[in-house]
Amino acid sequence: MTVLVFAVLYAPLFVSLLFSLVEIKRGVIQWDTLSFSPYLTLWSNASVISALSNTAQVAVVSVVIACLLAVALALYTESDGAIGRRVIELVIYLPFLMPPIVTGLALLVASAETGVPRGLATIVVGHAVFVLAVAYRLVLTRLQSLPPSQVQASADLGASRWQTLRLVLLPHLASAVMTGAVLALTLSFDETLISTFLAGDQMTLPLRLWAMMRVGFTPEVNALVTLVLLVSIALAVVVAWRMKPDDMGEE
């Protein structure tokens, strides 16, 4: 039964892969057009490539912002006597837990009210806010796993709070931040619903793909999507490797 479910889940992937290699006319597969050339010619499709580059820019910027904020917020909420810890956590998780349409609309209304023009910057804000929850959660869990004795030992050995931060806490968090960053990048790359409301003239890849859906996808587009998928899988494997429970052993 698991096999059946997997088959259903993977059907779209394989169909897309198929479409990237052959052409289909009226539901009939033209096997004689089988070739890998779409994987090469796609790089000359200007509109798709510009959307891809927009998406990459947005992803990197929003992830950097989200990770920085995540570390700062996690350090804050875990510190002694932090005020408003629960409230802040709730607000952080909100954009991820709400239907993306609500998050997107809220930011759209805010941008309209404050007169900020919609464009890549607003998309960055939308993605950062959405992805913050994931990064925060990962960093927080990692921060909570640090034995307090290490921080105390550091103070005992004469380190200032700043040194403790730099030499003990941040290195411990580094791998969690990396994991969070990779996860956030893949989330941002495919983010469609929020971006719909926040985009101006420049489109991200998912939006460009949505616009192209009426016309139909050329093999080149399917090739691009397959490539993005492969890269995402590679990243996911790396992340999965690092998250193996050798440092999570609790019974």
Binding site: M1, L9, A11, V15, G27, I83, I88, D190, M213, V237
Partner: protein
């Protein structure tokens, strides 16, 4: 500077980004829902008219209820299909387990739009499903019943949101301590009994949490119904989206989205309550 003053200052500083980029937009959008729109001009007078128009009008309220029902169905199906898969993965040992888990999660990395497109191609008149059914003799000629209706939306959503359920179910199963399983066997319970009385109840809160997560995601999805729903597959997400597009009635759209927001909040609260009951 007293300690508590420092603390308040720190709180003030650290709270700015979340407040500015999350709370304030949410607030402004709830506020907009109380305003009015006449001939594309927003009249800033507080009134509950939008909400009255929504709840009083069966076209809108009915669509909303229909969407709730659809998303419940999607969630239920996803759990029914996803739980056995997660359980199967959990039963594997070591490397196989994580490999299978990875395989289960990979579909999430495929572009959502292209996934929709290929599913539409599969379900369509010339699509692979029809061809397969004709090939094995179940159908004589291609059927139109698979696409551009509410069922198509249901099926597509299940395919898209299923991986979102498998992962949390697996995680909740993984949290069941081995010691409990061993104790159950020691006390003489067979595999089925152990599952029924130990594993399943313990995994339920996490499962409910994962299911509600998928439910909330499905609630706001307006692209899927637009692409595969045709004229009968309508969700409240599509209606809201059109208020910000062609219908151009932002306050009304904001009101409906606010209703959606509260619905999701209730869902999250329920999930949180369910998850907190897992005391292992």
């Amino acid at each position: 500077m007293t300690r508590s003053l420092t603390r308040w200052l720190l709180f003030g500083v650290i709270a700015v980004p979340p407040a500015l980029f999350i709370l304030a937009p949410l607030g402004s959008f709830m506020l907009l829902s109380l305003f009015h729109s006449e001939k594309s001009v927003i009249i800033r007078a507080i009134s509950l008219d939008n909400y009255r128009a929504f709840f009083g009008n069966w076209t809108y309220f009915g669509t909303y209820l229909g969407t709730l029902w659809l998303c419940l169905q999607v969630t239920a199906l996803a759990v029914v299909l996803g739980y056995p898969v997660a359980w199967f993965i959990w039963r594997q040992k070591g490397g196989t387990r994580y490999l299978l888990l990875l395989l289960a999660v990979i579909p999430l990395f495929m572009s959502y739009i292209v996934k929709l497109y290929t599913l539409r191609a599969i379900l369509g008149l010339n699509g692979l499903l029809n061809q397969a059914l004709i090939g094995i003799g179940v159908l004589d000629k291609p059927s139109q019943a698979f696409l551009f209706n509410q069922t198509a939306v249901l099926v597509t959503m299940v395919v898209i949101y299923l991986p979102f359920v498998i992962l949390p179910v697996f995680l909740s199963l993984e949290r069941v301590p081995r010691s409990l399983l061993l104790a159950s066997t020691d006390l003489g319970a067979g595999g089925g009994d152990t599952f029924r009385r130990v594993v399943f109840p313990l995994s339920l809160p996490g499962t409910v949490g994962g299911a509600l997560f998928a439910f909330v995601l499905a609630l706001g999805d307006f692209i899927t119904p637009q692409m595969v729903g045709g004229t009968t597959g309508f969700t409240i997400g599509r209606v809201i989206y059109s208020q910000f597009g062609l219908a151009f009635n932002w306050p009304f759209g904001a009101a409906m989205a606010a209703v959606l927001f509260v619905t999701a909040l209730i869902g999250i609260a329920l999930a949180g309550y369910a998850a907190s009951r897992q005391r292992v």
